[in-house]
Symmetry: C2
Subunit: 364 residues, 2 copies
């Protein structure tokens, strides 16, 4: 712990972090295992009652024929796109310029699968419907990310998704859903996961993001698609002898939290309003559409860090442990509401934001 910066140390010592479900420590997995009989057998290379019944449950939740558990979404999504490219005989897909595949995967899609990506839309906004309708490139698959994380978790209207889906079906383009945070968009759309997924040919969901599991992902689609996914999972080195630490925690925290996304969404709206009430602070979106949003504070990092460090120590509320300089003299960070938010006493929260406003007013 001696190597932590004062900023990170102050965040860790704060009694009340505003985001997440609590610390990612051993207790997260111990709590899952403590519920289980010591003699419960491991899965075995993707077989076994535990993994198979969880996959069936997730397939039903997503309204798809079949689902398969993966150690990571990176692996699951590359494989989904590869299968659709092979099926269409076209090595081209389209997605947003800030898609996880484009910015976080070291070009795995190109280097492992020789798949070219067409970037649709702009970095600072959602892909527009007209950009999809007017796209000239011959692609095998369009990937839509709901919510679009890197721009604060924005969402297109449901009617636009319906139009995108109809267009893709008419054109023979496969539609894949990057639903890493799928649960988190359901309260906004007022749809079930299955209703939303019916617009898509394949869907990926994550279990360590909104759900707060240890790691892991589900990929769902029709029977032939999942049969091929299984072969590719082995090729990628993802067909482990034991995946139980991941799928058991996924299952456990899914049951605990999937139904709480409406609450988190409401809390995100409340918290964003508190941020927006402060000098120099804006959120993106201004009114969140999921449990997440981005915060922008118009101060350079070297000025903002000591201010927040002092604020955490004074109020016991921890806002964030890192700052990105998103543009000259502006810092930003992401907030994702989970179980931690409801644990903050209202007066403590109110006081923290009054103090934040006061110190930022002075810093102008």
């Amino acid at each position: 712990m001696s190597t932590l910066s004062p900023f990170v140390a102050a965040f860790r010592q704060a009694a009340y972090p505003i985001g997440g479900h609590g610390r990612r420590n051993m207790q997260v997995l111990k709590e899952v295992l403590n519920e289980l009989d010591d003699k419960l057998e491991s899965d075995n290379y993707g077989t076994g009652e535990g993994i198979e019944s969880f996959q069936a449950e997730m397939a039903a939740f997503l309204g798809k024929d079949k689902a398969i558990f993966f150690p990571s979404g990176t692996m699951a999504q590359q494989i989904a796109l590869r299968i659709w490219c092979d099926e269409k005989g076209i090595r081209k897909v389209a997605y947003h310029p800030l898609s996880h595949l484009e910015i976080h995967e070291e070009d795995g899609l190109k280097e492992l699968h020789q798949i070219e990506s067409i970037l649709l839309g702009e970095k600072d906004r959602l892909i527009r419907l007209d950009e999809i309708l007017e796209m000239q490139a011959d692609i095998a698959c369009l990937l839509i990310e709901l919510p679009q994380r890197e721009i604060g978790g924005q969402l297109p209207p449901y009617e636009e998704l319906v139009a995108i889906s109809a267009h893709c079906r008419a054109k023979g383009i496969k539609l894949h859903l990057d639903g890493a945070r799928l649960y988190e968009v359901l309260p906004f759309y007022q749809k079930t996961a299955a209703e939303l997924c019916a617009l898509f040919d394949s869907v990926y969901i994550s279990f360590y993001k909104g759900i707060g599991g240890v790691a892991g992902a589900i990929l769902a689609g029709d029977e032939a698609f999942i049969a091929k996914s299984k072969v590719w999972k082995r090729r990628h080195g993802g067909d482990l002898i034991s995946l139980y630490p991941y799928f058991l925690s996924a299952s456990y925290y899914f049951k605990q939290r999937a139904h709480k996304m409406g609450q988190y969404y409401g809390e995100a709206i409340e918290l964003a309003a508190l941020f927006n009430s402060c000098h120099l602070v804006t959120t993106l979106p201004h009114v969140p559409v999921t449990n997440m949003f981005h915060v922008h504070i118009a101060l350079p990092k070297e000025k903002l860090e000591p201010i927040l460090t002092a604020l955490y120590a004074e109020t016991g509320v921890g806002l964030i442990h890192y700052l990105r300089e998103s543009s000259e003299g502006v810092c930003s960070f992401e907030v994702s509401i989970g179980d931690a938010y409801a644990k903050i006493p209202k007066d403590v929260l109110k006081h923290a934001f009054e103090r934040l406003d006061a110190v930022l007013s002075e810093a102008k």
Copy 2:
């Protein structure tokens, strides 16, 4: 449990399985976590004190600059071969026809990396030195598996490994060690892991095989090689937010068992002699050179299964839970000695083999 065959059910009910370290159940991971503070933090995408110190410890054990933890050996080895192919500008490697890469990975090496494999030697024996010295193909890398699992865990003499290494260095061919069961060969060679690995440019070891961890692997080599491995690990979808269930169990069981390989080796020799004393039974190798060997029984599966089912119930000793028909009228299976063997009372073991000999004599 109602779907188990009588044979598998009898094996599971037997008090004394001869191989392995005990059942692969929740207790394996619970035992690891129970030793740890609840507040111990997860690793985070390959960073964190726990994973970094374990990697450093394994690099030192293997005598290499650096090591990196992977969720699977399939992923680690494909990546090693890809790096060497890229470095040499040659998309060709050589290995044994029964290498893991050839028979258990759904052609991942070809499908993901477009690497062609040259199969050296024959399926029923080790690669011979002259086959390596006289190889005409221009390859980037030669992979040697120690021990050669699919033929009962056989090993070439150490002097042959030295000659192979010298030849590869002279020819500019990279030499990779598939050391999934590396610990298990050290007693035979009477070498340290570092002494053996010094002959190789890169090495992979597994933690769920001889060591009995939950899953996971280490890849080791020089600094530039490991830096590239890290990028490829992300591309493959192996750079998980949390790998702690795997590397913590790897570390825990490594400490418990790595030093016991000499004992397991001696016990394998003893047990193989017991098998060889029975009618219709031979082991491969006749005298094991590691803690593993294969057993061949000259009876067809439909005759042997009920015989063994009855034997397990009568004696309490479980030999195996599956039978392969390796050739017409001959069954085979693999035995890998771990902690379970020493728990069998000597008279129980002696009685079981006397009964095995008796029932096989009658079955002739």
